[in-house]
């Protein structure tokens, strides 16, 4: 039986920030096809940088990014990759730039060659799938933080990617929207990699956990993702726990 190459693969990726001597990421090897992965780690350890390298926004010093076994060399290759992978930014304001929600969600499909009618149809369907029916003509910069996050997710889903890269999606969400996002992510067909400091969020949405330690990407084996009930003041607000 022939095994298919993984959807995305990183080989020996080394990256240093401009002006720094020691690399931020060193010889990272990673591959993923249909898994739901969580990525945790302290601030500034290179999680977002790793996403940017995967998407071809940053060029690594060494190493290769492979899509379905093909090495991505230049911008043209990465254009292909970006059809398959969707990247949700940490700050939704950076992601929404069209006046209305519908125009923003339709931006991707239009660029991928859909006709305006198709793009409109895909967008309406995507919004509906996220429970955002009736948001089409809303003005993007007037949405609330939670709504912006969901609309930003819609702009990516409308391109029908195979894998989602989500950068701290649960940040600054109220408990209700956070639960809603967990529900959405669980129901989606796509695999995903989620950066988060919110362990409970990762526990509900991911099956594996990775962390970046000493410039290396490490799969957490020893620790079992689990959640348990406990009590403390203001416990019904989103909060973080030590690992």
């Amino acid at each position: 039986m022939i095994t298919l190459p993984p959807l995305i693969e990183l080989r020996n990726i080394t990256y240093s920030c401009p002006g720094r001597t020691s690399p931020l990421l060193k010889e990272i090897n990673f591959s993923s096809s249909k898994e739901r992965i969580g990525l945790i780690g302290p601030n500034g350890c290179g999680k977002t940088t790793l996403f940017q390298i995967i998407m071809g926004l940053l060029t690594p010093d060494k190493g290769e990014v492979l899509l379905q076994g093909r090495i991505m060399k230049d911008e043209k290759d990465f254009r292909l990759l970006r059809r398959k992978l969707g990247f949700l930014f940490q700050n939704s304001d950076d992601q929404l730039f069209s006046p209305t929600v519908l125009e923003d969600v339709a931006f991707g499909p239009l660029n991928l060659g859909s006709s305006p009618e198709e793009a409109r149809e895909i967008s309406v369907r995507t919004l509906e799938g996220l429970g955002l029916k009736g948001f089409e003509e809303r003005i993007t910069h007037r949405l609330s933080g939670g709504e912006k996050k969901l609309v930003a997710l819609a702009t990516i889903l409308s391109m029908q990617p195979d894998l989602l890269l989500l950068d701290e999606p649960s940040n600054n969400l109220d408990p209700e929207t956070r639960e809603r996002l967990i529900g959405i992510l669980k129901d989606l067909d796509q695999a995903h990699i989620i950066i988060s400091h919110d362990l409970d969020f990762l526990a509900s949405t991911c099956s594996h956990l990775y962390t970046i330690e000493d410039q290396k990407l490490i799969r957490c084996k020893a620790k079992q993702i689990h959640s348990h009930d406990h009590i403390h003041p203001y416990g019904d607000h989103p909060h973080q726990h030590g690992t």
């Binding site: 926004l57 254009r79 970006r82 930014f89 950076d94 931006f107």
Partner: protein, 250 residues
């Protein structure tokens, strides 16, 4: 926040395609700007005023727009009659006002308001986005359209960044005064606004590239020109033609 209050509305003018508004707007503007006849500019001003009334703008808002433009013409009324010179004069209290000066000031006022009415009726009833796409369809180079649309979009971003920084300064007890500290703070504010907007623009560009953007903005609404559009274009062009022809008959 920069709004487009005149573009909200559902009148016949609002529903017209941007293209059939851009062409006559250019024609009327050219005629009014180049003409030196009172009859042409006066009639033009009345006609564009009628067009403006038909587009049913919010009266208060309209008045404010007209006033802000006419502050400039007011300066001409203060200066031209006193400085223009010429042989014919009009005694006014202890001053001798130049008749030619008054003529020129009137002409400029008529031209300014005619063009303003024309722009408010024809262009302000479309959003900047649809005007941009309209210009592109009329043959304006794609890069220029892109520049127009994105400069407009980026204005919001820069404005927001500035307001955020200003708020931060105010919350920490900053009160502008005529002092070196104030000037230094403002220079930092402007500098930071520039840097932050630049970073922001870069991230927005990344977001666009990730979603398949390759230099062409494809509008979601691509309206076909309808019969009403052609009719509208023909009517307004006919009016402008008649306006231009007035000096040849009188």
């Amino acid at each position: 926040m920069i709004e487009e209050p005149f573009a909200r509305g559902t009148t016949f003018f609002h529903r017209r395609d941007a293209r059939v508004k851009l062409i006559p707007a250019l024609a009327i503007t050219l005629i009014l700007a180049l003409s030196s006849s009172f009859l042409v500019t006066g009639t033009g001003c009345i006609l564009t005023g009628v067009l403006l009334t038909l587009s049913r703008p919010d009266p208060g808002l309209l008045l404010r727009r007209i006033c802000s433009v006419n502050i400039f013409t007011l300066f001409l009324w203060f200066t031209l009659p006193l400085t223009y010179g010429g042989t014919k004069t009009l005694p006014f209290f202890f001053l001798d006002l130049s008749l030619d000066g008054i003529r020129v000031a009137t002409l400029i006022t008529l031209k300014t308001n005619g063009i303003l009415f024309c722009f408010l009726a024809l262009l302000a009833t479309s959003t900047v986005a649809s005007l941009g796409h309209g210009l592109e369809k009329l043959g304006m180079p794609r890069k220029l359209t892109f520049l127009l649309l994105f400069s407009y979009r980026q204005l919001f971003v820069i404005h927001q960044e500035y307001l955020r920084l200003q708020r931060a300064a105010r919350l920490r007890g900053f009160i502008p005064a005529n002092s070196l500290h104030t000037y230094r703070t403002y220079s930092h504010l402007f500098g930071m606004t520039l840097v932050k907007s630049w970073n922001r623009a870069e991230r927005v560009h990344q977001a666009m590239v990730l979603r398949g953007f390759n230099g062409t903005l494809i509008p979601l609404n691509q309206p076909e020109l309808r019969r009403e559009d052609y009719l509208f274009l023909a009517t307004i062009l006919l009016i402008s033609f008649l306006l231009a022809a007035i000096p040849f008959f009188c």
